[in-house]
Symmetry: C2
Subunit: 180 residues, 2 copies
């Protein structure tokens, strides 16, 4: 951020009175512009034991596979976001179930949430952000071609819980990959 | 948002190509400025069966009681945020436990998360944003003087679970109060 989004004046980076972190502060109108983590929400949608995956048509991770997921919008709930992203990326309608995983990824200031969901019909196809969309058995999951670790970890917890016969809510923290 | 925070030009409100919602778009540099929900994270910290509450010294809800909680910062995890807010508002050190509640509040574009936690010692006092801080037995919780519904609902789930003998993760959606 270089300019005040309220009045267009160049902003300063300084610690406001009573605060403890540097913020973008406008010297003209006094606005303090906070920057906060973003929520990414998706769905693990099942159809007769298979899971809906999308192959990404956009960066980052173009060509890699993911659960349908994306940035949560204002004025929606996390469950709304899971259903909307599934509709946008896979043109698929789901019934959203329980929240299944929540991963903190502090080095990129994101929190990723995935819901379990039930695919309502087989009328799906790639949305604008997907190259292809498909239903996968566990043996066919492209583990080496998954786009994001939060997606890999969610799928691993899903198959572990499925083998145990009950699903529970999982949380975790994802650190930068080695070498970064 | 009225001005581009990257170049200071007045922004337009329009739907970018490939998008479905109006965004603030800069006609000069092309930046698209997304606005997303914010996470508010707090802690329900226990000491010998009592719960740590803070009376707010700031708006909104000045003078009302809350669990220590606040906006999550970039580069931290949700658990980090719970511990930091407890330190800032109650000058109290905690050991953060399991995530306990997550409430969607779409009409204000917020998601509220509360962790269970263990207060590490009795060396607490009001931080700058609190008028007073105290430990409360269930019978003494100021139910009519709580600042936010996510806090009330979290405390109710806590005492229900405690009576049942086990704590589980709870989610919910909070709608506007009647009359709004």
């Amino acid at each position: 951020m270089k300019f005040c989004s309220d009045c267009g004046t160049p902003v300063d980076l300084r610690i406001p009175a009573g605060d403890s972190l540097p913020r973008h502060v406008c010297p003209a109108c006094g606005s303090i512009h906070y920057q906060n983590p973003k929520l990414v929400v998706g769905a693990l949608a099942e159809w007769e034991g298979r899971v809906l995956l999308c192959r990404r048509a956009i960066e980052p991770r173009h060509g890699y596979w993911t659960l349908p997921a994306g940035f949560m919008e204002n004025q929606e709930s996390t469950a709304d976001a899971a259903a909307r992203e599934t509709l946008e990326e896979a043109c698929a309608r789901i019934e959203v179930g329980e929240m299944f995983t929540l991963y903190d990824i502090p080095h990129i200031s994101q929190v990723h949430i995935v819901y379990r969901a039930r695919l309502l019909d087989l009328d799906f196809r790639p949305g604008e952000e997907s190259l292809e969309v498909g239903l996968f058995d566990e043996a066919d999951i492209p583990w080496e071609q998954l786009a994001f670790r939060s997606i890999e970890f969610t799928l691993r917890r899903y198959y572990e819980d499925r083998r145990q016969g009950s699903y529970r809510f999982h949380t975790g923290r994802i650190s930068p990959p080695l070498g970064l």
